[in-house]
Symmetry: C2
Subunit: 328 residues, 2 copies
């Protein structure tokens, strides 16, 4: 029996899907499903290729009711920029949830991951940021810095964005890009502390291995989404800051204990899994989330296979007539 498989290039995917509220809603439903307890989401397969300063992660999840499930392969090879290649690339495969047959291969080079990761930031902002956000801040000045701020702006249409990065020129370039794409005021700051002090909503997007955000930087009415840490040993927020917040939320307690901010906090003894709330339980209404305008909230995102299954399924529905068809 011949199976029809659709192969999509990065260019086709970029032309067909972009970060918008539809995608945010799709990812929000994935978080709600996760909270229901019915999603099957194995531990991430992770392999280090030390010789090449590389790593590869594989994520998947089965969401009951979805026709398909994604298997997402994310390589990160950190010598690539010197070779003129992006560090992150990879692909997603969508398989039929009834038969396991391969339906689609998305040669996205990480584009769908970028989109679904930013959309998760928007879900966190929608449910946890103060209702009134006039200034947002971002730590880091790369692709996710831009996308996270675009995503957050969909749900909190702030007027100003502050950017900090280790390289001031890159931070300014990021600010310029955001000013242009969002039509808002944007400027680079001299310190991460300045960004936090001036913002009601902050997103951290770095691969830092020692905490950037300190406990005494926190102020009433602040929400921080930390999306950079996705490997054991990475951390952007000091364990004392996590403990000082009124609420610590994460995408997956199990994952964050291994590779998120929760890992360092548990090791430091400042915060435990018992205090952690999964974002999906807030989306689903089982936890109230932010208690008041003055509360301090933190959301720790490591990226879940459920998001991958949700975005791949969504894209598949959008693109039914595109792609290269392979009869197999």
């Amino acid at each position: 029996m011949i199976n029809e498989i659709r192969i999509y290039t990065q260019a086709e995917l970029k032309s067909a899907i972009r970060l918008d509220l539809d995608v945010v809603d799709v990812i929000e439903r994935a978080f709600a499903a996760l909270a229901s307890g019915s999603v099957v989401m194995p531990d991430i397969l992770s392999m280090e290729l030390a010789d090449a300063h590389g790593e590869v992660d594989v994520k998947t999840a089965y969401i009951p009711g979805f026709d398909g499930f994604a298997i997402k392969v994310s390589p990160g090879f950190f010598n690539n920029p010197a070779l003129g290649l992006p560090s992150l690339n990879g692909l997603m495969i969508l398989l039929c949830a009834k038969t396991g047959m391969v339906r689609s291969v998305f040669l996205d080079n990480g584009y769908l991951t970028d989109i679904r990761t930013a959309a998760a930031g928007a879900v966190a902002a929608r449910h946890l940021a103060p209702q009134q956000v006039t200034t947002a801040g971002v730590i880091g000045a790369g692709v996710q810095a831009r996308l996270q701020i675009q995503a957050a702006h969909l749900v909190r249409p702030f007027e100003q964005v502050l950017v900090w990065g280790r390289d001031m020129a890159k931070a300014q370039s990021c600010a310029d890009d955001l000013a242009q794409s969002l039509g808002i005021t944007a400027r680079a700051c001299a310190s991460a502390q300045d960004v936090v002090a001036g913002s009601q909503l902050v997103v951290t997007t770095t691969p830092a291995k020692s905490p950037i955000i300190q406990a005494d930087w926190l102020h009433p009415g602040l929400h921080i989404t930390a999306m950079g840490s996705d490997q054991t040993g990475k951390t952007e927020i000091h364990p004392a800051a996590l403990a000082a917040a009124d609420l610590y939320v994460c995408d997956s307690i199990r994952q964050c204990q291994v590779s998120g901010e929760l890992e360092g906090a548990e090791r430091a003894g400042t915060l435990g899994a018992a205090q952690a709330v999964e974002l999906g339980t807030i989306v689903a209404g089982a936890h109230s989330g932010r208690r008041s305008a003055d509360a301090i909230t933190i959301c720790d995102l490591t990226g879940t296979g459920a998001q991958d299954t949700a975005i791949a399924s969504h894209v598949s529905q959008l693109l039914t007539n595109l792609g290269t068809v392979v009869q197999n």
Copy 2:
């Protein structure tokens, strides 16, 4: 920068590669590499989709010195035959070991897995079976029953094969196919015990969840390769039989403790990891393997990511001018 990705269909793969001594040698080198300790091979990612009576495994391994590494996705959906589809399908992806860029996608529906699994059986037979094998036996009557016997015949050109399966008609059909393809005598037996009694080399290829081969069936000068168990709870050989053999060999101690015959034996307390020898150490000459013509040896194969990386790399070299090229 444009990356060229080659997509290969199952038909292209079947026309270009078949089970032969070249493939056996390729897989043998993967075992030797595994024994060297330099291979990075994470635990298998495994997900159950209970609603669909399905499961999916993802395997990978990085073998130093190889240009690429494979990520192999193996779904098994056991309601498929009722839908006219094979239970097993899936694909392999070959990524560049220097950059992580996707090089090739092999839409093999499990064909490369079949080949590399049978080749591992040949490696086990080459290093562990008695030098003189006149009769080989196989328990099970499916695709792997045929391929394992074809593979074993490459390294031990026996004159007769005995087949046992739960369905006598299927066992006879398997025997007929083997008689024709190998030009040898082949017959179906009324019991698995008859197969073992009459053979010097036996391969078990079933998804059994209770042991088929009993300790008192073992006889001097016997080698058994058990390749069916690849999930916790599956077992083809009684724990007492494993302990009664002179030598227990496996592809990966770590994997076999979770999903091979070693799992049940450890639980039963008849055999532990300390008594287990990895096949690669025998291939590499660090363990002598079979001690005498009369010894009883057992090899437990669960299937490794190293085999997947080896076969995908080999196929990639054979097929440089085939496949559909996608510019990405």
